[in-house]
Amino acid sequence: MRYQTVIGLEVHLQLSTRTKAFCGCAIDFGQAPNSCVCPICLGLPGTLPVYNKEALNSAIKVALAFNCQIQEHTKFDRKNYFYPDLPKNYQISQFDLPLSRNGHMYIYTENKPKRIGITRIHLEEDAGKLVHEEANSLVDFNRTGIPLIEIVSEPDLNSPQEAFDYLTGLKSIIEYLDVSDCDMEKGSLRCDANISLRPEGSSQLGVKTELKNMNSFKGVKDALQFEVERQAELLLSNQQLVQETRLWDAEKGRTVSMRSKEGAKDYRYFPDPDLTLFNINKAFVEEIRGRLPELPLDKMHRFMKDYSLSEYDAKILVSSKKDSQFAEECIKIYSEKDKKPLVNWLIGPLLQEAKVRKAGISELNIEKKELVNLVGFVQRQEISGLSAKTVLSQMIDTGKSAELLIKEGNLLQVSDLDDLNKIIESVIALNAKSVDDFKAGKSNALMFLVGQVMKKSSGKANPKIAGDLLRRRLSNA
């Protein structure tokens, strides 16, 4: 039997406001334990929460960017469970009246757009951090109370790769909004996954597993892949799956069953009486919508239109906000009408250099003007593509200009006809057989002769001009 994979993701995102969700503690990472805390986020007896206006605005931005409907009435609820990283032993969250519902975004797995539903985006607060020792657990409440939003997807993802692409796309949108660091390794973005398998064609969902403890997008993908195989194996051998939470062990590359804390039905959600209702009027929402920055999908379409780029090229360029800005500025500097050669360099060699250096293209040590210059050299056939790639790498390493590096490397192609003709004459003289072959109609022979010209010129001959000259010379002879 063939199975369909069904995945839904729950993404928790720390909002990068100046202060915490319900108190005025500055959000400041890397500080000494329990130094970014106050009576309110410590949940000391008698303290009360007041929600951060900026957190609400940021959350609304995110909800709108994911095409969600902002609910007219929303409220906070308490989710009750005991855990030492939770000072009040309840988390302020949202239950039946979340900030927003019914959104969607598009992913491009294998270059085809697919719509992924967003069930809801709601507001909550972060918990503290635990450090486990031999006999004790140590608690640091610095993170406690940082505003979070939870983005819950519909179970519309059908492969670990789609889940990966969803996360990448989601991160890209958030980055454009500039409301969160979105860094899974630092914990500002966290992701839990629900996964189940069902027989192909079935409309009923299978028994699901909740996966936790992944700390990179790749970790999410790997954990899901492991789970697909584990579940399929059980199903194929007619074994019963149990609904459970499993933790991803990245080192061992497997998921392990976790004994549950409190079951979801034991959370005893109820409206938080310490916080008021929020009535969010349409005008306010529209005002925020009006101030939203251009989002990746819009930018992609604009690039396609304005610069006649293919969807594929445009999609790569827009995936990062800063890189897309860098790319667009380069495109504007580049004076040729056809932008494709430059774009090829942006998403080709430049992106490659960036990947090697584990950075974005905008973070590389290269001036936009210089990059455009380099592409100009190539386009004018003044240097070979191969040389240009070397120059690009050197530019990034040294910060020197393209022109200087080309000069230093003596890389300008020989396009001078007199120089080339001298080389050609000597090649013809030395390769009579190939000359005859060409004359007999074997066009491959010309390639060989061009190769010889290149060799003799130490690679600096312009292969196109050399080819033209050769052809003309041999046809005339």
Binding site: P45, G46, N80, F270
Partner: protein, 479 residues
Amino acid sequence: MELNQLTAHQLLDKIKDGSITSQAIFDSLYQRVNKIDDKVNAYVRRGNLERTGKESGSKSELLGLPVTIKDNICTEGLNTECCSKILQGFRPPYDATVINNLKRSGAGIFELKANMDEFAFGSSTENSYFGSTHNPWNLDCVPGGSSGGSAAAVAADEAIWALGSDTGGSIRQPASFCGVVGLKPTYGRVSRFGLIAFASSLDQIGPITKDVEDAAILTRIIAGYDPNDSTSVNQSVPDYTKSLTNDIKGLKIAIPKEYFVEGMDPEVKAVVDEAVNKLKGLGAVIKQVTLAHTEYAVPVYYIIATAEASSNLARFDGVQYGYRAKSDNLIEMYKKTRAEGFGEEAKRRIMLGTFALSHGYYDAYYLRALKVRTLIKQDFDKVFSEFDCIVAPTSPSAAFKIGERTSDPLKMYLSDIYTISVNLAGIPAMSIPCGFTKNKLPVGLQIMAGAFNEETIFKVGHTYEQNTDWHKLKPVIRL
């Protein structure tokens, strides 16, 4: 009269004319506490009493006048334990907003905190980790609760005035039992920031005083918008002393028939009827009305209040402060800490509230209770659309004997039957002394008004007070 026997406004006059200092008032209170509090037990942790100079020399309005604070209101650096073992040793690193307001107004904070039912769970102050408070009018009787320490201290002249908190009657009922004045302000009138929560949607801090004028002064000082409390209302605070006019002619007063029913002590009924007649004699128009959903108030209250409490009290787990039981396993530590740290009533209410919120019962209990709460509020809205205020007894009985109701929680819960609706409706209400039973136990008259209409309450209370002497009588404490 000794200084400790005077009202705050009398003492303020004396400080102003230079005849006394606030230090002298502190001294007279210490003397009184040292003399009688072993009997009354209005204050807790008395061993801590430091007779240090308290002369603040404050030139602000209250001129250094001491205020007694209930043990559930956070005072920076002073133990605040809600009279619970689980909070033992807890010294808040911050002051409640009301304490800030008091200090800003020049008040001196009395270092001893007033006794109370643990976490304000109770109507008798018998549920205190530090032992029961005794009613100054009869030491064998309870002072009411949960602000029994505050009320007894004021009644026994161990305090000039005091702050209590009222979730279901915890200011008014002890005020009634101790023969003093106690006001529960409108929900949102006084900041709850720094009040250790029992039931967040019902709790309010309020004054317990020797007369209505003091209540009017203290209310104005503690009331007002607080940006630290989302449920505090941004509405200006009137000078309530302007309402003390001694004139209620033509005022329309409603008498809810559901508050004069069987189960009520006939002596209390007689005293309250007499008080109502007095108001009529002073020119008020009296008419009977109905508050149809009164019978549901106690059940609704015990669902909502305990549900909120079960969540509010979850933080007492031995992690950050207070008592921690020894264990090398976290969950066991939690369970033992809470089993050993909470008293019986606290455990009962946490259990009831947890149950009311739990899966499968939420709709039948909590959600339904919230709906009935709406009906109860609507009853009041309707009455206040036609009347200026409602007058009723504060409690169906006068103070009962210590130990008399401890074995029957339900019976204890029913002692709040006349005070609870007010909290559910969020409206203000005040209890003032209106007479005594044959056994010389005080009876309280409750005056309720619409939201943010404390002024009418003060007007009626003050007028009644000006024409009676009940508030001037003082208990004699047998030593």
